[in-house]
Amino acid sequence: MGANIDLIFKIAGIGILVAVATMVLKNSGKEDYGFAVTLTGIAVVLIMVIQMLGTLFDEVKTVFKLF
């Protein structure tokens, strides 16, 4: 449970970091790098979220005997 709450802050941190990095890169005239950074951040977070969603579905499956 604690690890899950940590994940919320982790995702928020990555999001803010990616936003700042994109802004800095945009201001220094490297907009395509900024897009790449955004895409990478979203991919990393998506992997974490999907793993957690998998645990949720497994839990629901065991509780409601959905096989």
Binding site: M1, N4, I5, I8, A12, A19, T22, V45, M52, F64
Partner: protein, 128 residues
Amino acid sequence: MDILQISGIALTGAVLAVVLKQKSPPMAVLLSITVGVVIFLMVLGKIGAIVDVLRQLSERADISSIYLGTLLKIIGIAYIADFIAQICRDADQGAFATKVELAAKIMVLVLAVPIVVAVLQALLRLVP
């Protein structure tokens, strides 16, 4: 007091999602998924306890486990489908949400058909 914990998580998540929404909306959607999953996982243990009680009651009342099993499966499908549909709606994809709900309805109908058939057969047995 789990409800205080859940309220705290929801409030923190809401503030963080609003901050993220300005700069990168996809990240805000992912954050809202995470908050939803965390709260759901906290509640799921208690749902399991309720389901166990229901199961014991149905055993004591000699109700066939097929009926309760089907009922629980339908509830599980409804929970998951509703969760995903709401996330899709939050992400401004109302069409996906409607499709997930339609799929869930069809799945529920498929599960419910044997029970409907059993009822009809019982009725036919009554008619001479």
